[in-house]
Symmetry: C2
Subunit: 673 residues, 2 copies
């Protein structure tokens, strides 16, 4: 006779395993499939990320096409096509129709896909909303024909179900094409596939990307860099940030015979010297069996690994974009906006968090046709993938919002929150493991280490912005003042002379007394479209009341670019570590000189990035240049220059007139006119 | 001779399955374990959510204790203890040490845990950071002793590993205790276990919760409701929002012989009449085999299910808090803040999205010691669980920020974003499936249906706030004006009389002419602490220049509470659907009457929630009450009242003086004094 089950028995009877596919089918919003707009973006993103990863792993310059076509109401057919290495027939089902299956999760190096979820999630969503299988076409170099496989996911078991398969003669050596029919909606604008691909092109300038929109419009982002980035190497985990449980598992799982060997060969950064010190601090000989270490001994060992100085993590597992390509990518894609200023991109050195290396890069663009009174545009990237959703939940946004941008020349209410202004900020976080807030990979979780690096990179870029804005405003003020002086004084002199019936005097001494600056005015003359060179012209005017022998010093930005100029006029010194200098011919008051430097066009130089210095002129009498810093060697002895200047002063360039202006006062009077 | 593997082969060799435990160990930030502070909160939350779910499923009033104790640097021992039904020995390992395993994922009814991840994730994190097993003590009613099991998770296989087991004599009939040692950090304040438990107590007033903090402080939230909420029932999925793939799977998986039977018995809301119409529109007889439906036929069937009117989803699977308990919970926990105003809580009817029923509830509290110049406090809840992180990424926050609160009396820059003011807004979303943005269950994903319901509920609560604020401001203005008139006029009269040597005239006619309103002024007198009644006093003053027989109408809030008053003075009409009315004794100018209603204290009535109406006085001459709406039956014929009033006017209450004030002008003059 069966007894009535107790509550605990009733509850126990309902307990069961949940398949990961079932879980995500029911919680598709977690994977980025909550609505038809976002589902389309996520599908395109997963397809393109896979394509880029595959091409890069094979050292192939990516050619990617995304075709989106309408098929009935609320349904789109999406096809993502690449020239990657292709996928072996036996792997196709698992790669496209099984969640938590992949090659990149266990590899300790930077890649876009890390979870083994993405593209299978798109296949799951497509089947859920249209009950149609995914169609995969893939050809590997060694086969004659491409494989065509139609697939669904058996959600209760999270296993692939092959619906059909076939062979196809394909007119390319290798590559993969994924085709899905899904409930989706297409539009351009924010958070669209268009924006995603545009942003992808910025940080992947080595890729060529084509988008065919549902109305047939074809958009192409051409390749802006001729070579693929180096393939990131797999590295060993670094002990910094290692958790106790991870160390315990590794000691348990290893096949190596001793603790010393595990530490030396299964972790990065442990040099022989560091190993000795770690073992010493933990009170170990090193010959202990790995699985004999537990309890307090395990904790002491971890503490030793955390405190003994180790080699820093290697950057080999990371694939930063680099300053040159950030700039080139931004220029390539933002061409039509014509920004005034590209800050020298910042690429921070790699750091480590929780055993995983990471680094941060920042690009900043200002002016042009960027909207002046809107919040700045923030482009977030993780491992070269644009993040378009969940901006408010992202560590990048928080780092930007927590910086006081008012100090760098942008408007920002109360000194926190997104600043406003005609500015675009690009932040790229690269890591062997990005801590995303969810499987949809749309926001980076808060982490003090990552936050610190983003902030430092932002500050570095922001300092360039402040310099640009202050230079611009000083130049504008000066040129307004110059304009007034050079226009008004002669008219005043003419009138006064006419009144008193005397000839118009030479105004140079007056003008130079009022101005009393050495003016350095650089400008960039880009070669005409198709030309191969860019010229930086520097005009130097001696608006002081005495003759000067000026020495101009110039310093290029510290990054590997731009290269040395292909020609210089006048020659000046030989470039050395990006530095050059000239001793200019003697300049009488109001006289000017010019220097021209020609660079290969590929150097993409900005006048703003070049620093100019003058020796022997103090800050108050310099415009467009700074006094020479102390760490620069002055090439021509000061005494020689002073002697030359004295000689110049002795020679009469035109007598001073009787009009004895007090510079400051007259300036004020003129300003009021 | 082995050939060198091709790129595709090399890539294929690295493909492998990823265990869900491995995945989440590596991506613990997704589960809410990114840092020691959040890890503690998540652990407490998962433990308490499970305890509450288990007690409710067994119909037990929950007694839950959370003990947090320091154990070494950066380590805390957390124990969560409940009086629930207990867990059978054989289920303990799977429940606590296996991810994606549980009883609530497949049950279509509201519960806190839905994923089968939470508590196992805490066990995973504890082992990762301290290498220590979880200790589970559980006793079911039918056993003599409690089971004690120590557990770890085998992450590579996502299976439990039992470390030790034992029996324990436990001094309670049934219950479960989970103990974990983890890397964690304790502090009070925002996003702390303290705040989480306080908020939990608000929306679970049937639970008694004790927290023991690391310094030994013991905090108790006492039970504020004597009975557990009804146990939500499992319901069938509703066809609204069903995806094509889901319909296809169900037709494939069913054991029923015909389409008609599947539609009628495996879905909610399909009445026999609706079934006929659905089959008709889909061109089916109903006798087709379920798995014979695919392709276009399947699509037509889904379209028919979407468009034929079905019964709305049942609310039986949901467990709303209800207006009474929302208010009681808020009062219980916010007692020390003494808010001025508790808006009548809003509990929306259930709706359906994607086949899952959901409903939204809103509570709003204003004034008291809530900070006046800060953003409003937003308490977000999902299935009675407080959401403390990711506020910026949550649909609730967006709905609040997108409402124009300026229209309801709160400050809000630009009419969007979180409003400011001494206000607390509680939003509860209850559903058989909450679309969380991640497994950490801290934010609800954007969804147009949910957004719409939250907005409607917020608007309803906000309208009460506006009414409260406008009543308050009208009363304040009036009492200022009354004060001036009642204080200044007599002094003016005295002085004038002294000057002209005449006696001071009776000012009543002047005062009533200037005022010219019937003033209804309710106030609530709560019984002293421990008392069992609350009294609502209503003062009615006839500040008009003629005698009036007033008829006061009163309407209680529409919810099931408060109950009818236990005593009324004077008696007036019998309460009927929350409505009562009185015909007051004749009031001469300046005379007053009072009504007193006594309620049981448990009714928790607010003066603001009672609406007062007057018949026969127009809006301009009413303060504190509104003209009687048209849908109310007037109990005493107008003619009778008018006759009574005329009689009253004929009797001389004191002759009008010669001073013939023009009300409006004199008022102005007095205001200026």
């Amino acid at each position: 006779m069966a007894e009535r089950p107790t509550v605990a028995q009733q509850l126990a009877a309902k307990q069961r395993e949940i398949s990961v596919a079932e879980f995500f089918e029911r919680n598709r919003q977690i994977l980025g499939f909550d609505n038809p707009l976002r589902a389309l973006l996520t599908t395109v993103k997963e397809g393109v990320d896979n394509a880029l990863d595959a091409c890069e792993e094979a050292g192939i310059l990516p050619e990617i096409s995304v075709e989106i076509a309408r098929e009935g109401t609320e349904r789109l057919r999406v096809a993502v096509d690449d020239n990657g290495p292709g996928i072996l027939r036996r792997q196709i089902p698992n790669v496209f129709a099984r969640l938590l299956y992949g090659s990149r999760f266990h590899a300790n190096r930077q890649s876009r896909g890390q979870q083994g979820i993405g593209i299978s999630a798109a296949v799951l969503y497509a089947a859920l909303t249209t009950a149609r299988p995914a169609r995969i076409v893939s050809k590997v170099a060694e086969e004659e024909a491409a494989q065509v496989v139609e697939l669904l996911i058996d959600t209760q078991r999270n296993l692939p179900r092959v619906i059909s398969e076939d062979l196809l003669l394909w007119d390319r050596p290798h590559g993969t094409r994924v085709e899905l029919l899904l409930k989706a909606k297409y539009q351009r604008g924010r958070q669209s596939p268009f924006e995603y691909l545009k942003d992808t092109a910025i940080v992947n300038p080595h890729a060529r990307i084509v988008l065919v929109e549902p109305d047939g419009t074809r958009v192409t982002w051409e390749r802006a860099a001729p070579t693929a980035p180096p393939i990131p190497k797999e590295v060993l985990p670094h002990p910094y940030g290692l958790e106790l449980g991870e160390l315990a598992s590794r000691l348990k799982a290893t096949a190596r015979p001793t603790v010393a060997e595990v530490l030396a060969r299964e972790f990065a950064g442990v040099t022989p010297r560091a190993l000795r010190e770690v073992l010493g601090r933990a009170g170990l000989s090193g010959k202990e069996k790995p699985d004999s270490i537990h309890g307090e001994l395990l904790e002491t060992l971890l503490e030793a690994l955390r405190t003994v100085p180790l080699l820093p993590p290697s950057a080999e597992s990371l694939s930063p974009i680099g300053p040159l390509l950030i700039k080139r990518g931004l220029r390539n894609v933002l061409g039509e906006i014509r920004p005034d200023f590209f800050a020298p991109p910042v690429s921070r050195p790699p750091k480590v968090r929780g055993g995983f290396p990471f680094l941060v890069e920042v690009g900043l663009v200002y002016g042009g046709e960027l909207p002046p009174d809107q919040p700045v545009q923030l482009l977030r990237f993780a491992n070269r993938v644009p993040l378009l959703f969940q901006q408010g939940a992202c560590a990048v946004t928080n780092a930007v919002a927590n910086l006081d941008w008012r100090r760098y020349g942008l408007e920002q209410k109360g000194g926190s929150g997104l600043p406003s202004g005609p500015c675009l900020i690009l932040v790229h976080v690269a890591s062997t493991k990005i801590p995303f807030t969810s499987e949809a990979k749309e926001a980076i979780a808060e982490d003090p280490e990552i936050d610190k690096e983003i902030t430092l990179a932002l500050q570095a870029a922001a300092r360039h912005l402040r310099l640009h804005l202050s230079r611009r405003s000083r130049r504008e003020q000066a040129s307004e003042k110059f304009d007034v002086i050079l226009r008004i004084l002669p008219r005043l002199a003419e009138k006064t002379s006419a009144l008193v019936g005397k000839p118009v005097p030479d105004l140079t001494p007056v003008i130079t007394r009022i101005m009393d600056v050495v003016y350095v005015n650089p400008s960039v003359v880009a070669a005409a479209k198709g030309g191969s060179t860019t010229t930086v012209r520097v005009e130097i005017v001696n608006y002081t009341p005495r003759a000067r022998v000026l020495e101009l010093f110039l310093e290029m930005p510290p990054a590997a670019f731009p290269p040395d100029p292909v020609s210089r006029s006048p020659d000046g010194s030989e470039p050395e570590l990006g530095r050059m200098w000239w001793t200019l011919p003697k300049l009488l008051p109001s006289a000017r000189a010019e220097i021209a430097l020609t660079f290969p066009r590929s150097s993409e130089i900005d006048a703003d990035e070049v620093d100019f210095y003058e020796a022997g002129v103090d800050e108050a009498h310099l415009l467009g240049a700074d006094p020479l810093p102390g760490d620069w060697e002055v090439r021509v002895p000061r005494a020689v220059i002073e002697a030359a200047e004295e000689a110049a002063a002795a020679a009469p360039p035109g007598e001073e007139t009787e009009v004895d202006y007090d510079g400051a006062k007259s300036e004020g009077a003129l300003d009021e006119e």
